[in-house]
Amino acid sequence: MAENVVPRVRVPRDASAGEAVSVRTLISHPMESGQRRGSDGNTIPRSIINRFTCEFNGELVIDVTIEPAVSTNPYFQFDATVNETGTFAFTWYDDDGSVYTESADITVA
């Protein structure tokens, strides 16, 4: 069970219709690869965020499969074209079954 897992997102508050806005996301997570050994010689079990998705008003924007090679505190930045006022919904899926969500509103003038 990963501790101190906190999702964070940064999305502009306003945009004009059809504009590509920059979306930045970060989740604090140790991303234990499952390939390291502890001081007792035993393998430290894998514990990573294995999937990240972003939806805008119910429409899928990005769906990422994350593998063990991704570093601690995964950071994703991408551009999304917005045509209407709405809400970005972000979801991170943890190996331990936990699901972390965050959302951000954007107003299109």
């Binding site: 101190n4 570093s71 505190n73 950071y75």
Partner: protein, 288 residues
């Protein structure tokens, strides 16, 4: 314990690398760093009086880094060091010790400690010694909060707390006192700085005073300024304390380092901090 070179002091350092010189050809100077579009950071400054003849300009370690690493520090969302500052804020507001106090009980908010980082290490009259921020935190915890076991000097919790104390001071000019009762420790720190350690017989000065800007393997040597500590190091994926960095440097000379929190490292921290008098606090900075 410590392997000191037979040749001590300034003279040894001067002739050992007489052929070397600073190399700023690969380094782009003159850029400015503004954090979150509001905190002005001084990355190049006039050296303090005691460095006359040693350095012509002070450069923050930021100057020696790549564009990508520089950019990470310009925005708190992109700076992974701020994750640890957030944990520091949580600890700041958490009651610890038998007295039922949190840091916030006395200090109200972290911003009230904004004048701490720029002036530390500093002489502590009550204890008759030079104290670092870490030692000050431990003093609060044991003497005022009633904790039997304060944060370890280089523990994650301590680094988080010191990163928080540094983050609220960003943009303030480093100004540690080197005269008065602190002078003795400062002299010790200077002696350590110019002493060649280890099988490689390297002093701090040979890399960071006489060869900054040149390559050491694939990396550019900086001036070894500590205004950005605790620093988020990409290679560690964590924040790193000043003493941890000192230990790493002496280890790389194949010497046996002083221990973290030792009087020698406190003295060296005071001296190295004074070499940055005129730069601004950047912690948590981002470095490789």
């Amino acid at each position: 314990m410590t392997r000191k070179a037979l040749l001590g002091g300034v003279s040894a350092a001067v002739f050992a690398v007489a052929a070397a010189g600073v190399g700023l050809a690969d380094i782009r100077t003159g850029d400015s760093l503004v954090i979150n579009g509001e905190i002005q950071i001084v990355t190049e400054a006039e050296p303090p009086a005691h460095l006359e003849g040693a350095l012509s300009t002070l450069y923050s370690g930021w100057v020696f880094r790549t564009d990508e690493t520089r950019a990470m520090q310009a925005d708190d969302f992109d700076n992974p060091g701020m994750l640890y500052v957030e944990q520091g804020i949580d600890a700041f507001n958490t009651v610890m010790g038998s007295e039922g106090n949190s840091c916030a009980s006395c200090h109200e908010n972290p911003e009230s400690l904004a004048n701490v980082r720029p002036s530390y290490p500093q002489w502590d009259e009550a204890h008759g010694t030079v104290q670092t921020v870490e030692m000050q935190v431990q003093e609060c915890q044991t003497e005022r909060m009633g904790m039997e076991q304060p944060y370890g000097y280089d523990s994650q919790q301590m680094r988080n707390m010191v990163a928080l104390i540094a983050s609220v001071a960003r943009g303030q000019t480093v100004d540690v006192a080197i005269d008065g009762p602190a002078a003795e420790a400062w002299e010790l720190g200077r002696e350590i700085y110019y002493t060649q350690y280890g099988q490689m017989e390297l002093s701090c000065a040979q890399c960071h005073e006489q060869n900054y800007g040149n390559l050491i393997r694939a990396d550019h040597l900086s001036q070894g300024q500590i205004n950005g500590f605790p620093t988020y190091r990409l290679k560690n994926a964590n924040i790193v304390s000043v003493h941890n960095r000192f230990r790493g440097c002496i280890r790389d000379t194949r010497g046996e380092p002083f221990s973290v929190g030792s009087p020698e490292f406190v003295a060296l921290e005071l001296y190295v901090a004074s070499r940055g008098n005129g730069l601004t606090v950047e912690g948590p900075a981002v470095r490789n």
